[in-house]
């Protein structure tokens, strides 16, 4: 067992874990933050995307012990109390989800995309940047619309700090 400590959604957390523990297992099983999903467990689908030190990564392909000292943001860390993050709100407004399984990963990927490429995103850019996220329900169309709106609104609305 290895001692691991990190900051998750602004809170300091630590635990004794088996060195094999993936970041996604640590989040879901130790911290009970079950918003982060496991779709494939083979780094293909993006359901497990979270931010580590401000960057989107696949938490099924990252060891918890390798995040020692890092700052992690999950889908649970985006909203301000009951006020949704603009990207979450945009998914609701545009019917950007059906079953919702892929949604946490889509939203964390989308917020990372805005952080890297700004608030005015065209459709081609959004579709290209979603290549690591799979949705089995929506056909992507409303996800793309949601991200375009969420990106614009992130420019004007205050968000939870990462």
């Amino acid at each position: 067992m290895v001692q691991v400590a990190m900051t998750v959604n602004g809170k300091a957390v630590s635990a004794n874990v088996d060195s094999r523990t993936l970041l996604v297992q640590f989040l879901r099983e130790n911290l009970r933050l079950t918003g982060t999903h496991v779709g494939c467990d083979t780094s293909q689908c993006g359901a497990c995307v979270v931010h580590v030190d401000g960057k989107a990564i696949k938490s099924c392909t990252t060891l918890a012990v390798a995040c020692e000292g890092a700052s992690v943001t999950t889908i649970e860390g985006l909203a301000h109390g009951t006020k949704l993050h603009p990207m979450q709100q945009a998914f609701q407004d545009n019917h950007g989800l059906q079953c919702g399984f892929c949604t946490p990963g889509m939203i964390m990927t989308a917020v990372d995309l805005v952080n890297r490429k700004g608030n005015a995103l065209d459709e081609a850019t959004i579709r290209h940047e979603l290549e690591g996220n799979i949705c089995r329900c929506t056909g992507y169309h409303n996800i793309v619309k949601s991200i375009a709106q969420g990106a614009r609104e992130m420019a004007t609305q205050p968000q939870a700090a990462e």
């Binding site: 088996d18 060195s19 094999r20 392909t61 390798a66 990372d112």
Partner: protein, 264 residues
């Protein structure tokens, strides 16, 4: 995944010492190693994570070479102004690896050490005549890649950085497998002081290789027309459910012409 001991040493020397353990393995971005361990195709007894070692990541221009630290992430190479100015084809290549989340973790050292026959960086290293620097020696790219997932690295040897001599012109063109995003065929073309070099990844049944016939054709005339008639022998190429050897041989020609056009 089988159980392993985890170590995150603070220096290359300590990492080398930890790697002296039998079955110890380096962990860089984990984007290849962790999936392999999950499938139990690799079961290292000790994982030696390089992430805490200062000086292993970063990008700099040193004279007429571009130097990239082994732990530099694909996303950082893709976004680097220094790389974009010095070797635009290399920045473009890094931006085509996997997806954004993979690019945030995966490293150039990990990609070269892994030498997947469909990986992108090996094509750039071979075409540009890069030097792979380890904790023990410097290895020319031409001597580094030894076949499928095989390299000249010895047990416990750690890549610390990669030196790319600046080319006059270069470009990379990749036909991506739409599912895996690895190269079905990728061709890196470089016009350097030492001549023209053409490296092909994704296609060779023993990994990345140089295309001698194209290099000869481009030596006197660096234009797509010069290689329009150059055939690629399909006999040493990969055949799998994504495409047979003849199809890949055809793609090599198409990607090479596009790369020369992009570079010229």
């Amino acid at each position: 995944m089988h159980a392993f001991e985890y170590a995150a040493p603070a220096s290359v020397a300590d990492a080398a010492a930890a790697l002296a353990n039998e079955d110890a393995k380096v962990l860089a971005g984990g984007q290849t190693l962790l999936p392999t361990m999950k499938q139990r195709l690799a079961a290292p007894s000790v994982l030696v994570d390089l992430r805490k070692i200062d000086g292993l990541s970063g990008i700099s221009r040193e004279g007429d070479a571009l130097v990239i630290g082994a732990m530099t992430r694909h996303a950082d190479v893709a976004a680097s102004k220094v790389v974009q100015d010095a070797i635009p084809g290399l920045a473009a290549l890094a931006a085509l690896i996997g997806d954004p989340a993979v690019r945030h973790r995966g490293t150039i050292g990990g990609s070269l050490a892994n030498n997947d026959p469909a990986a992108d960086y090996p094509a750039a290293a071979l075409a540009l005549g890069a030097t792979i620097v380890t904790n023990k020696r410097e290895i020319a790219a031409g001597d580094f890649f030894k076949g499928l997932f095989e390299t000249a690295l010895e047990d416990g040897e750690i890549i610390t950085k990669v030196k790319f001599p600046l080319p006059e012109k270069s470009a990379y063109e990749k036909f991506r497998n739409p599912a895996s995003r690895y190269a079905m065929v990728g061709v890196f073309v470089a016009k350097t002081k030492a001549g023209v070099r053409v490296a092909v990844t994704g296609a060779g049944s023993s990994g990345v290789f140089r295309h001698a016939a194209m290099e000869a054709a481009l030596a006197g005339n660096f234009s797509p027309a010069a290689i329009a008639g150059v055939k690629t022998d399909a006999s040493g190429l990969l055949s799998d459910l994504h495409g047979d050897a003849d199809y890949r041989a055809h793609l090599v020609g198409v990607m090479a012409r596009r790369a020369v056009e992009a570079a010229a």
